[in-house]
Every structure is written in structure tokens, then in C-alpha cells.
């Protein structure tokens, strides 16, 4: 071929190649810049983007700290427990485990907020957090990791006709396979379309195999962990958000042989078990609060703290769900001898309850009624969606119940949500401006302070109004002397609602709740990693 023809051929090739690259680049840019935003003005905080960047910076620093801790740890059988705990920590702060490599598990669960929501404006507003795909949102408040491993495998107690154990607000992480609800919980958000959004559990394994800490994983679980023949399109699939129309509803779009799928499933289970090891460790579930010091005889409560404690386990009746470990059965002639039956009380009985909370109408989930650029519609029902909690799970509408005998029980559990631990309800970072870091409470974050929480328990049935939130009648103030109608009224727990507490007594209960914050007897790890500001 003569030189002129060769040059001409090269130019043509380059032009074609350039055209292909530019076209692909534009397409990718269109896909990534096609932001999903079906929300009316005022629902999504205006500082969301810089706040996402802030939390991601904080999470990256903690991940680096985890890796440094691993590197400093002598590796022998005597450090095996610490090894698996540190692996769990590193995994939790790794944003590459999300579909767009932009969101770690801990993005929604940061240590300084008791491993719950780290963005003040989100806690005050939408409550649910944005997912890896911008901007799909979750529908419930991110729960605290602390003490979550202490919920047992979900079981039904026939005498009491009630469920014990399970994780998630709706108990759908039953623990039936791994025998740990907390480990099974860790397998869900990574694949949730609204959260970290991977389309296949194999994608989490793929990302772990590509991670900077692959060797850490293999040291803990063995060199077989990532021995998988990946299909050539695995990374393309794993960059496609769960729910995208192109996936055709296939929960395992990564095409693996049965043996490789089995290997991937086993590694995915091991990923989850490491996370629960960390969450159950003293780094997270510390038992280091003032109350723990009081139980050990090393702290004397103030008068208000003690008054609040006496209300908590007396007239307030809080301890009937939030077990304080003093479950002494009293006969009329008996008095409480002051000794704790349980020296490490969990402050939850691990059941669930319907507190009769109103709907929170600013939950972004209600507005996600149109398809995003991947052809996925998160919530076609819009405001008609009613969060039946455990009732959804029992009907296989949220996860899948592993025992079909439980499904007929659903109506009795409509509106039930997990009884959270009362520990660390007041764990929050110091704000640079001296104000209080805001936290949201309950599954829909309707309540915004411990004062509101206690007032709700005390007066839900004293100030009931047949209105939705935002529509309290003139002359009343919502959350003071007007409580909107419950989202699920027929099964509301009547233990609470009219406790007869005075305003002073309400304040004393709040004061007591503050003694349940870890970090008193020993410093709480990573509690000083907040770099934001407070409104």
C-alpha cells in the first residue's frame, strides 16, 4: 500500500475512533447528568450536594483509619477477632461497594450520630437519605447500628402471639440463614434500588475483589473468596442501578456458573458476617454510658437523672419495651432491691410496636412516582403508600418472609415497627456554633427531638386530631397540643398515649435518656469525625 493511502487510512480510523469516543462520552454524560428530581420545592435541602461531599470525605478518612489499624495489627490467632472486626469496619466505610462508587454503608450511618443520619438538614427535613443514584431516596430513617447485633433470629412466640428479634424497621432481616439478623441486614442496602443500588449481590463481591483491601478479606476468610470466573460484561452490569429497565427484573444479571454463583454467595455472606462482628464490637456497641457506670456503682446520678430513671421504669412505663434490666416481679409486700438483673441491658425487648405515629408528608418517597432515566419508578403509589412495617414484610411486600405460616398474621402486625434500643438516642456531635445537632426519631423521622418523643408518648391520646400533618386546626400547635391522626390507627399500642406526666417529669425522662449515651467510661471511637455545621 502506498504511503498516501496508509496515511488516509489512519486518518479515517482516527476520525471514526474519535466519533465513537465522543458519542460514548456524550451518552455517559447524559446518563450521569440526568438527575432524578421529581420533588417539589422545599422537600430536598439546598445544601444536599456539599453535604454529601462532606460525609464522603469523613467516611474516606475513617476507612483509611481502618486500613491503618489493620496494617498495625499483628496477624495471629490471638488477633483473629480483631481482624474480622476491622474487616467489617473497612467494608462499612467503602464507597466503592455502591453502584456508582459514591456511597458507603456508613454514609447514612456515621459514628458521631450514633451510627445514624449524619446530615442536619436531611434529619430535619426529608429524614430518608439519598442513594447512590442521584437522587433516589430511601423511605425511612436510617437506623442506628449500635446494639443491632443483639436482636435474636426472628421467632414467633405463640403464647404471646408476638414476634421477637429480626432487624430493620420491618424485621425483614430475619437471620434465618446466617443465624444473625444483623448480618442479613448488611446484605440489603447494598442492593436496594433506593440506597447503594447494586443490581446483583455478585457485584459487591466483584467490587471487594477489586478493592484496596482484597488481601484483608482473603486473610480473614481464605484465598478462595474471589476465585470466580467473571463474565466480560460484569463491570458494565455492576454499574447499572438496581431496578433499571434494561435489567428486566433479573435479580442475578451477572451470569455466573452455578459453582461460581455459590462461591459468590458464600463470599457475600462472609462480607456480611464481618460487618456484624464490627457492629457487635466495643467500637460500636460499647456499653460505656453513664448508665453503665451507674450499674457498676461508679457513677452517681444527678437528682434529675434519677427522677427521670424512676419515671422511665415507673409511671412512664418506658421499660416495658425498653428493658432496663430491672425486671423484678413485685408482689405487694416486696420492694425493688436495687440490683440489676441484667448488667448489660439492651434497652429493647426486641419486639415491635405500632406507636400510632402520623404520616410524615415530606418523605421524598411519596414523590417518586415517575420513572428515572433508567426507566425505574420507585413508588408508583405516591401518597397512597401506607407504611405497614412488619405487616408489609409478612405479606412479602418488603423482603420475603421465610415462613408462609406467618403471612396470615399480617393484619395484627400492620403498622408495627422494631422497638429500637433507647441507648445512644442522644449521641450527637458537638456543633462548632454550640447549637444542638438535630436528629430525627422513629421510622419516619416525624419526631425531631427527645422532648418531642416523650411528649408524644405522654399525650398522643390527649391531643388527637383527625387531620394530616401540617393541618392542625387554628389555635393548636402541631406536636405541642395537636397530634395528627395515626398512619395505621387500628393496631396502635395503648401502653402509651396518656401517661399523666407533667412537663417537669417529661424533661426528667429526657435527662435520663441522655445517660444512655456511650463514651462516658471510655472514649467512643470516631465520635469526633464530624466536620460539618449545625443550623
Amino acid at each position: 500500500m502506498c504511503r498516501t493511502s496508509l496515511v488516509l487510512l489512519c486518518v479515517v480510523c482516527l476520525v471514526v475512533l474519535g466519533a465513537v469516543m465522543i458519542t460514548r462520552g456524550v451518552s455517559a454524560q447524559n446518563a450521569s447528568s440526568s438527575i432524578y428530581f421529581p420533588y417539589p420545592t422545599g422537600i430536598i435541602p439546598s445544601d444536599l450536594v456539599p453535604e454529601i461531599q462532606r460525609v464522603n470525605r469523613e467516611a474516606s478518612l475513617i476507612e483509611a483509619e481502618g486500613i491503618a489499624q489493620w496494617n498495625a495489627l499483628p496477624k495471629n490467632s490471638g488477633t483473629a477477632l480483631r481482624q474480622v472486626q476491622l474487616l467489617g469496619k473497612i467494608e462499612l466505610f467503602d464507597k466503592n461497594l455502591s453502584v456508582n462508587k459514591n456511597q458507603a454503608c456508613s454514609f447514612c450511618h456515621m459514628p458521631y450520630a450514633g451510627f445514624s443520619g449524619p446530615i442536619p438538614s436531611v434529619n430535619l427535613g426529608p429524614v430518608a437519605y439519598p442513594g447512590s443514584s442521584h437522587f433516589r431516596f430511601g423511605k425511612r430513617k436510617p437506623q442506628s447500628y449500635t446494639y443491632s447485633p443483639f436482636y435474636p433470629v426472628l421467632q414467633f412466640n405463640t403464647a404471646q402471639a408476638n414476634f421477637y428479634g429480626g432487624n430493620f424497621w420491618d424485621l425483614r432481616a430475619t437471620g434465618f440463614l446466617l443465624q444473625s439478623p444483623d448480618a442479613e441486614q448488611a446484605q440489603d442496602p447494598v442492593r436496594d434500588s433506593q440506597e447503594m443500588g447494586s443490581p446483583d449481590s455478585a457485584c459487591i463481591v466483584r467490587r471487594l475483589s477489586q478493592s484496596a483491601y482484597r488481601k484483608v478479606f482473603e486473610t480473614v476468610w481464605g484465598p478462595q473468596a474471589f476465585v470466580i470466573n467473571w463474565p466480560s460484561n460484569v463491570d458494565q452490569i455492576c454499574a447499572t442501578p438496581a431496578g433499571a429497565a434494561v435489567l428486566g427484573g433479573n435479580p442475578t444479571p451477572v451470569n455466573l456458573t452455578p459453582v461460581d454463583r455459590g462461591r459468590s454467595n458464600a463470599t457475600f455472606d462472609q462480607y456480611a458476617l464481618a460487618i456484624t462482628a464490627y457492629e457487635g464490637s466495643p467500637d460500636v456497641s460499647a456499653f460505656s454510658s453513664k448508665f453503665d457506670a451507674f450499674l457498676a456503682g461508679k457513677y452517681t446520678m444527678t437528682a434529675d437523672e434519677m427522677a427521670g430513671y424512676n419515671l422511665f421504669r415507673g409511671k412512664g412505663n418506658c421499660n416495658s419495651c425498653h428493658l432496663d434490666g430491672r425486671s423484678t416481679t413485685l408482689t405487694p409486700s416486696q420492694s425493688d432491691d436495687g440490683n440489676a438483673a441484667d448488667v448489660a441491658p439492651k434497652f429493647t425487648d426486641t419486639t415491635s410496636a405500632n406507636l400510632g405515629l402520623p404520616k410524615n408528608p415530606v418523605d421524598p418517597f411519596y414523590f417518586e412516582t415517575t420513572p428515572d432515566s433508567f426507566g425505574f419508578t420507585p413508588n408508583p403509589a405516591g401518597f397512597a403508600f401506607t407504611d405497614l412495617g412488619v405487616g408489609l414484610f409478612l405479606r412479602n411486600l418488603s423482603g420475603t418472609t421465610p415462613n408462609s405460616d406467618w403471612t396470615p398474621l399480617a393484619p395484627a402486625f400492620d403498622g408495627f415497627m422494631q422497638v429500637s434500643t433507647a441507648r445512644n438516642v442522644d449521641m450527637r456531635p458537638k456543633c462548632p456554633n454550640g447549637k444542638t445537632f438535630p436528629k430525627a426519631y422513629m421510622h419516619n423521622g416525624y419526631l425531631k427531638s427527645l422532648k418531642e418523643v416523650v411528649h408524644f408518648y405522654n399525650t398522643r391520646d390527649v391531643f388527637p386530631f383527625d387531620v394530616t400533618s401540617g393541618n392542625c386546626p387554628a389555635g393548636t400547635k402541631e406536636k405541642v397540643n395537636c397530634w395528627p391522626t395515626p398512619e395505621v390507627p387500628q393496631t396502635k399500642d395503648m401502653t402509651i398515649g396518656k401517661l399523666g406526666l407533667t412537663p417537669t417529669e417529661e424533661a426528667q425522662v429526657v435527662t435520663f435518656l441522655k445517660t444512655l449515651t456511650d463514651g462516658f467510661t471510655t472514649p467512643y471511637p470516631d465520635s469526633n469525625t464530624f466536620t460539618g455545621s449545625c443550623p
Binding site: 412466640n157 405463640t158 403464647a159 404471646q160 402471639a161 408476638n162 421504669r313 415507673g314 409511671k315 412505663n317 421499660n319 416495658s320 419495651c321 430491672r326 425486671s327 423484678t328 416481679t329 413485685l330 405487694p332 425493688d336 425487648d349 419486639t351 410496636a353 391520646d461 388527637p464 383527625d466 390507627p489 387500628q490 393496631t491 396502635k492 399500642d493 395503648m494 401502653t495 398515649g497 396518656k498
Partner: protein, 139 residues
């Protein structure tokens, strides 16, 4: 009589003879549970709207962690076949237990007659039952 047949016959007779004892034992257990709990205050109307009411009473003790407090009611004191049930949790530190039941889907300006009791989740009666019929009126 052959040996297996003899064994079968003995088994059958023993079951027949002891069945009343077993049934009485179950009843005795239920009665024992029920016997401890007595109403010491109420039942009273805590509050009422035009379509709902909250009934409240106090017993001297609870007897299971998660109690189902029950209101049997109707518009005719001779027919209390309608039933409302709410969960109430027992605080074992207190020498009493408060029971509250939300009764819904009622008719305005109507008088309802009712009795109350407590049951366990599986329906086992726990006692703490009304001795007389009470009444309330919706707004």
C-alpha cells in the same frame, strides 16, 4: 389377647381415664393465671369522639409481658358480641397495671354497653374481668 392388642387397650383406657384430669389441669392453669389479676379501678371511659372511644381500667397486677386488653361491647346490654382489643405492656416494677383499649368504628351519639377482660396473645384468659356491665356514650 395378644400383647400388642393388650398394650393398645391399656393405652386407650388410660387416655380415657386421664383425659378429664388433663383437661382439668389445663383449666386449672388458666384459672390460676386468671385468678391473680383483679380490677381495682374502672373500667371507665377515658375519652370519646363521635366514632371512637378509649376505655381504661386498672388491675392489681399484670400477668404476661404483652397483654391483650379486651372490651366486649354492643348497643344492647344483653348482646356484647362486638369486640375491641389493644396491646398493653406490663411494667413489672409497678404494683398495678393500666389497661387501655381503643374502640373504633362507632356511631355518633350512641350508648354502648361493655365488659372488659385480659387475655394472652394465644387467647388464654388472664382474668381481670368486669363483674358488672358498664356503659359509655359517643359524642
Amino acid at each position: 389377647m395378644s400383647r400388642p392388642l393388650l398394650s393398645l387397650a391399656i393405652t386407650v383406657w388410660v387416655s380415657i381415664l386421664t383425659f378429664p384430669i388433663q383437661a382439668v389441669s389445663r383449666q386449672r392453669v388458666a384459672a390460676e393465671i386468671a385468678g391473680h389479676m383483679q380490677i381495682i379501678k374502672g373500667p371507665d371511659l377515658e375519652s370519646a369522639t363521635d366514632k371512637s372511644a378509649i376505655i381504661r381500667w386498672t388491675t392489681n397486677t399484670g400477668s404476661t409481658r404483652i397483654e391483650h386488653s379486651v372490651v366486649h361491647y354492643g348497643t344492647d346490654p344483653k348482646d356484647l358480641s362486638r369486640r375491641a382489643e389493644s396491646l398493653n405492656r406490663w411494667n413489672q416494677n409497678l404494683p398495678y397495671m393500666i389497661h387501655r383499649v381503643s374502640v373504633m368504628n362507632l356511631t355518633p351519639r350512641t350508648t354502648y354497653y361493655f365488659k372488659v377482660e385480659s387475655v394472652r396473645g394465644d387467647g388464654t384468659p388472664l382474668g381481670g374481668s368486669s363483674r358488672t356491665i358498664s356503659q359509655f356514650t359517643t359524642r
